[in-house]
Symmetry: C2
Subunit: 229 residues, 2 copies
Amino acid sequence: MKEGPDIARIAALIGDPARANMLGALMSGKALTASELAAEAGITLQTASSHLAKLEGGGLVHPRKQGRHKYFSLTGSDVAAVLEGLMGLAAGAGHLRTRTGPKDAALRRARLCYNHLAGDMGTRLFDSLIARGHLRRDGGDLVLTEAGAVFAHDFGIDPDGLRTGRAALCRECLDWSERRSHLAGSLGRAFMCRFEELGWARADRTNRVVTFAPHGARQFAALIGSADA
Amino acid sequence: MKEGPDIARIAALIGDPARANMLGALMSGKALTASELAAEAGITLQTASSHLAKLEGGGLVHPRKQGRHKYFSLTGSDVAAVLEGLMGLAAGAGHLRTRTGPKDAALRRARLCYNHLAGDMGTRLFDSLIARGHLRRDGGDLVLTEAGAVFAHDFGIDPDGLRTGRAALCRECLDWSERRSHLAGSLGRAFMCRFEELGWARADRTNRVVTFAPHGARQFAALIGSADA
DNA sequence: TCAATGCTTCGATTAACATCGAACCATGAA
DNA sequence: TTCATGGTTCGATGTTAATCGAAGCATTGA
């Protein structure tokens, strides 16, 4: 009937509460087994299996058999970006699943988005990288500058080692709570990993909340050149 | 059960084929009446009425009574951006509603996205504006530089007049066919309007195709400083 | 080979919702 | 007022699909 891609098909895929819960759980970036996802969505294993087959058919998740377990993960950051966008619309329409509780504030401050840092601290990191000329915008793409490569290297990240994969090095992702961009891509992932390695922050993969230790928050503020801790 | 916004609710809203068709029609940026949307989706008026009430409840569309007609339009560019994102996922998964026909090629070259130019020509315009320093990226936002304001003014656009509204002046929107950004916001709208005013291009609001006249394409290429017509 | 675990398939049930006919309201025109 | 048109509400129907119990594979470990 109409032109263009079949948007209803995948929107309906995301539109089922059980599947949406699974996708939300996968936004942590961690690969989860079918059983774990079933528990997450509050359904039995056989229902989950059916749902996961559909999500896989729609290209939203990617299976990975390992022994007798089957791990699922989001196919890419583009899927995560759309999910974040949907969260933004839902939040804007006031359709919050739970009234804003204590966890909600923590989520807005710092959380995992797929595999990188999101929330207030995520966008501040992104802003700092742009302002200092470590990242530059080239057309629709994001590029790491020379200065940025040095900065990353000093922080213990090897940018050249990240370039090998097929995935984009830098990518921006729209943040649903802040309504601005934060850093995604393998570099975004590397930053988050480093924060954990250094003991600055700890990510709770079950609820996506990232908690910064006091000294971690101070050093993070110093890293991005911010006055406030 | 889970934290965060209720993503399933609005995804399900978009997930119905009839509603998705309506939203797709509204991507042209034009406000359409309930009857027109019903015809677009191939359903009766009473069904359409029910759907539109739901879309309105979800904050995706905005009603506007005018006489005995009721015009609907997308609530904002953020909604359009999510729809484009979904199109990108659907296209990536190979779930095209129609096999790529002649209209598809035209859509990829130039089309309306909400109210601004998208497709190959849209992204080229965006790239040019960035490369020449007319637009600059500041954190997650897009700002019009001094030089950009002069450039816009010379092209017959009054940037200051656009700033008055509550809507963002510049905003980027991810293009589903090109997988990169093009210019949205009131400035994006102004550019598209100007192209039509000058007779460079004509937008078919029923199928979103934007056709450039030969001389219009030449002048467009000159505007963005491209060699090829 | 046997047992246990993780996942898939099949079948039947159930609930949600899209759809439309018909009647009902509101606006604008004669 | 009377008529026509655009839109909404109501009720009944039909289809879709989510759900789970039970049985079936597959992989691992003993």
